[in-house]
Structures are given as C-alpha cells and as structure tokens.
C-alpha cells in the first residue's frame, strides 16, 4: 500500500527535506491529499471542494478558524489548482532524482571512507600483493589513464566555472544538469583530501560507475565547451513552437513543426505563461489516467456550473415526498427501511448534493452513473459503524467460534423447536420466528459483537 501512497514525509530522505513543508501546504488539511478542485472560504482557507462541502454540511464553520461560512460563498482557488497540477506532474521524477542523488552521495561517502581505511595499508604492501581493490583497478588498465585525464579536465573546468556555466545552461536539459551537478560536487570533494593523483582514483572510479551517464555528458560538455560556444544569442526560436535551435537544425525543425505540429510548446516562460494559463488546469491528474474515458467528461464551463449547481435546501422545511422526488429525478434509489426514513433520505440528498457540486468544480468530472456508485459506496462505508468495536487484539475469533459452536447449534435447535411447537398450537408465530432468524443471523455473523457478549 505504501508504494502508491505518496506522502509529504517522502521528502525527509532527500537532500531537500524542506520540500516536505511545500507539499504539506499543497495538501488539504481535511483529507491530507493533494487538493482536488481547491476552494477558498470567505476566511481565506483552502480545502478540496468535496471536503469543505462535507464539513460545511456537518457544521457551517470553517474547519480551520471556526468562522461561520456557507457553501455559496466558496470560490475557486485557481492558483492553488495550477500549483497542485504542476507539482503533481513533476513529483515523481523530482523525488526519484533526489533520492538517487542522495543514495549516490551516501555510497560515495562509504567508498571514500573505505578507501581511506584501505589505502595506507595497500601502499605499505609489496607490489606483488594484490588485494581486491587492486585487482579491480587492474581490470581496466586502459581505462585508468583516461580517468585521470578526465579528472584533470574536470578540475580545470571547475576552476573557471563562470566561463563554462552559460553554455551548459543552454545546451543541456535540466535532468542532465542536476546529474552533472551531482558529479561535479563529487569532484569538488576530492581536492580536500589530498593533491596526489593516486589518492583520487577510487573516488573517480566510483563516480564513473554511478554517474556514468552524467560524467559522459560532462566529458562531452567539457571537451566541447572551449571550442563550441553555443551562446543563447546563436540560437533561433522556432516560430511555431518557440523552441530554440541552432542554425544548422532550425530549418529541418521548422519543417517538422509545420508538417505534423508534432512538437508541443516548451514550458511557458513568464511571457507566454498568461496565454496558456488555462492549460495546466485542464491537465488530468495522474491518478485518473488509468480509468477508462467513459467514466469522465470534459470539464464544466463556468456557465454550466452555475446552471447545474444544486441548492442545499433546508432539512426542517423539506418534505419527505420532495426529497424522494429530487432523488428520483437524479436516478438515485429511495428504498429506505426502518425508522427515520426522512433523515436517511435527507442525508443521502445532502451527500449527493456535495458530490454533485464538487464534481462540477473538478478538472476531470465524472459521469453521473459513476457518481451514483460513489454515493452508494459512501453510504455503505458510513453504515459499518456498529461493527468497529473495541476488541482485544489477541482475541481469536476462529477458536472462540469453534469452541462455542455447539452452544449456538443448541440455541438454534431450541428456537426452531419453539417455532414448530407454536405453529402446531396455532398461536402467533411472528415473534419467535424473528428470534429464530436472529439466532441464525448471529451464527452466520459469528464475529459480530453481539455474539461476543452472549
């Protein structure tokens, strides 16, 4: 369950634990999930549309500050909605990147520690004496001089970061950049220990194994940086997708863009952010991608929302027939048994109103039949109250029901006898047959609390 249960505490293990606070504030304080269709109350607190509607139905107060509030005063929180949707899209890759980085750092640390312990010993031994480390090193004899050379290159590039930094930014994607930063921080750590080349080798090797791709990228950029200065001014923006390409590739790129409109526009900068402000809202959250399309529809427009919004009504004024009619109009069943049918129907209508109104606010609204199923599931989940009893955790239901089965069998037989006797006598049987049915039900639900108390 933990694997598909993202949580703000995931960030604690990363090099940026402060992201925990960021994610916490992108989560609804009621359901502790990322905001779904966030709504802001008149006192300025933000909750999921459904959460705040349920809270306000239960008590007309803001859950945070307890100030009185009501549903019609809720407003969309568009900025938060955009924040959540963009955070949700990058969350996984960001977490993976940071975790990988942290692991690499730890591993490198361990390796460095191990090395500092083994190295002095190895130097004292004669050259015939091969230990594991040396065998490993000798396994790549051709590789070693290269590694040395590359390291020197790296340190030279590091010494003048201001010269290499600008072309790096323009030529590499962000993920490569983070990786190479991890790699370069590795190299920065080396001069602290010693200046002698031999001492650096194992660290260089470890960084080779872990940052193979990144160091390759680094090597590439390090070798290219001096002779190919791809400055930002040398790049041309594609008129169609705004992507910046250099002179040699811009023409084929524009052709491709015209042909297929294949390339989506790059991440909008501040300039074109305003024009595409609507798009992040429309983006579907990752959780919905698995569901079939037939369960969802296009988002409602503002006019549709206003038109379709259901009023809350008033419990004391509403008549049971009206409630029934409203429910039936929406295709919701009204079969209610037992006492207080009006109360049950009213609760059902309230929950339906909450679900319906929250669905209107959703970026990815569900179709009506899905909502009705959700309503039923919600009612079922609320009905189990009496089963969740405080029970000793060591209590063995199986053993208990096995030992007491004869007793129950006798009880049932007894009840049946009474029924048949009463039938013979021709007396009113309803009461006893009820008790027989009850006893049977108890046996079927052996683990129900009533049985425990018998």
């Amino acid at each position: 369950m933990d694997a598909d249960f993202p949580d703000p505490t995931d960030w604690i293990q990363t090099p940026v634990p402060g992201l925990q606070a960021l994610e916490t504030s992108l989560r609804c304080q009621v359901c502790k999930e990322l905001f779904t269709a966030p709504k802001v109350t008149s006192c300025g607190h933000t909750f999921c549309s459904l959460c705040i509607r349920r809270c306000l139905s239960a008590s007309s107060k803001c859950p945070t500050c307890m100030k009185p509030d009501e549903e019609p005063r809720l407003r969309d929180n568009i900025v938060v909605s955009e924040l959540v949707s963009s955070f949700n899209t990058i969350r996984k890759s960001l977490l993976d990147t940071l975790v990988a980085k942290e692991e690499a750092r730890k591993q490198a640390e361990e390796e460095a520690e191990r090395d500092s312990r083994t190295r002095p010993k190895a130097e004292k031994r004669s050259s015939y004496d091969l230990d594991d480390d040396e065998v490993m090193e000798d396994a790549e004899p051709v590789h070693r001089p290269q590694a040395k050379k590359r390291r020197r290159q790296d340190t030279t590039t590091l010494r003048k970061p201001q010269e290499t930094e600008p072309p790096r930014r323009s030529t590499r994607t962000s993920s490569q950049r983070t990786n190479s930063r991890a790699g370069s921080s590795q190299v920065i750590a080396i001069p602290d220990s010693d200046d002698d080349d031999d001492d650096f080798q194992p660290i260089e090797e470890s960084s080779e194994s872990e940052f193979q791709s990144s160091s390759r990228a680094k090597r590439k950029s390090a070798s290219r940086a001096p002779d190919t200065p791809t400055k930002d001014s040398d790049l041309f923006a594609c008129p169609l997708c705004n992507r910046r390409k250099d002179q040699s590739t811009i023409n084929p790129h524009v052709n491709r863009c015209i042909e297929g409109n294949r390339s989506p526009s790059p991440t909008p900068g501040p300039a074109n952010g305003a024009s595409s402000a609507g798009t992040p809202l429309r983006r579907q959250p990752a959780t919905f991608s698995n569901l079939s399309r037939s369960q969802h529809r296009a988002p409602y427009t503002v006019e549709e929302r206003e038109k379709l919004r259901l009023p809350k009504g008033n419990a004391s004024l509403a008549k049971e027939a009206d409630i029934r009619k409203k429910l039936r109009d929406h295709g919701i069943r009204c079969d209610v048994k037992g006492k207080e049918t009006k109360q049950i129907l009213w609760t059902r209508l309230q929950e339906w109103t909450n679900l319906w109104n929250a669905n209107l606010d959703s970026d990815n609204p569900k179709l009506k039949h899905v909502l009705i199923k959700e309503l039923e599931a919600y009612e079922r989940s609320q009905a189990t109250q009496k089963h969740s009893v405080v029970q000793d955790k060591d209590f063995e239901r199986e053993a208990w029901s096995n030992t007491h089965k004869p007793g129950f069998d006798a009880l049932i037989a007894n009840a049946r006898n009474t029924v048949s006797r009463k039938k013979e006598n021709g007396t009113e049987t309803s009461e006893t047959s009820d008790s027989a049915a009850g006893a049977k039900a108890e046996l079927n639900g052996m683990d129900s609390p009533e049985v425990v108390e018998v």
């Binding site: 249960f5 505490t9 599931a377 969740s388």
Partner: protein
C-alpha cells in the same frame, strides 16, 4: 471501512512515524483495522504523572475526520477529566455542535483539521493541568481540590504501575 477515513489515517500514521513527537506513540492495532489505534502517552515531566507511560485506545468513527475519535485509557489512571471507565473528557474531542459542559469555546473543540498528534498533545497537557471545573471523575476532582497530597500519591502509584513497578 470508510476508504476516505483510512487514507487519511494512513497519512497521519506515516506523519507520526516519520516526524516523531516526544512522549507520544500511536499506531493502528492491526493492519486490517485502521479505525482502531492504540497509543502511549508519556506522563508530562514535573507532574505526579512523570515517568509513567499511559496506554490508551483511539477509536475512529467512519466519518472521520468530520467526527472526532474516542480516546479511552486502558490503564489505571486517576484524573479529574477522565471518567472512571477510562474515557477522556477533553474539549478537543467534542464535536463543535454539542457542548455538554456549556463552557468550551468553539475554537477548542474538534474540527476536521485536528489530528491524532494534536489530540494526544492536548491529552498530555490535560494530564499536566487538570480542569477541576468539569469533573468527569467527581471523586478525583474533589481529591484534587481538597487533598492534593493524597491525589498526587495515588497518581504517582498509577504512573509507576504503568511501567510495571
């Protein structure tokens, strides 16, 4: 079980185990019933409760977090705000709607944004500062007011008992 409540509780549980608060330990009794937790509350320092580990159960309703959980001490405890059967009477566990004691302000009471951690912290401060005006346990309230020495003696004995001394 209510899926929404379980997800919320799972979230709170992860939060609790990853950001430990001193003196508070809580978790579900078993993996298949997330609606019943057991918790340990350390007796606050510089009080007669110091040194004790008081065990309690937290029972969550299906409409959690709309309704508050129910907290019940499972160990022997003498406190003016704890009923003789162990049920805790504290404002944070009372839903905003009903105010049985007519003195609590709405802001002190349960709201869906409260959490297990906050409830347990409130109980901890309740142990340190009993409210003898709303006596859930009348005998304890009386003793607390009139014979503080004996009250503290009994409390110390209870505290020692909880750690098996």
């Amino acid at each position: 079980m209510a899926a929404k409540a379980v997800r919320r509780l799972l979230s709170e549980y992860r939060e609790l185990i990853n950001n430990e608060t001193e003196g508070i330990y809580a978790g579900p009794v078993s993996e298949d019933n997330f609606m019943l937790w057991e918790c340990l509350i350390a007796g606050p320092p510089d009080t007669p409760f110091e040194g004790g580990m008081f065990s309690a159960t937290l029972k969550f309703p299906d409409d959690y977090p709309l309704s508050p959980p129910e907290l019940k001490f499972t160990c022997e405890i003498l406190h003016p705000n704890v009923y003789p059967d162990g049920t805790v009477c504290i404002s944070i566990l009372h839903p905003p709607g009903d105010d049985p004691n007519m003195y609590e302000s709405a802001s002190e009471r349960w709201s869906p944004i409260q959490s297990v951690e906050k409830v347990l912290l409130s109980v901890m401060s309740m142990l340190a500062e009993p409210n003898d005006e709303s006596g859930a346990n009348v005998d304890a309230s009386k003793m607390f007011r009139e014979d503080r020495a004996q009250y503290e003696n009994i409390v110390r004995r209870c505290a020692r008992k909880t750690v098996g001394l």
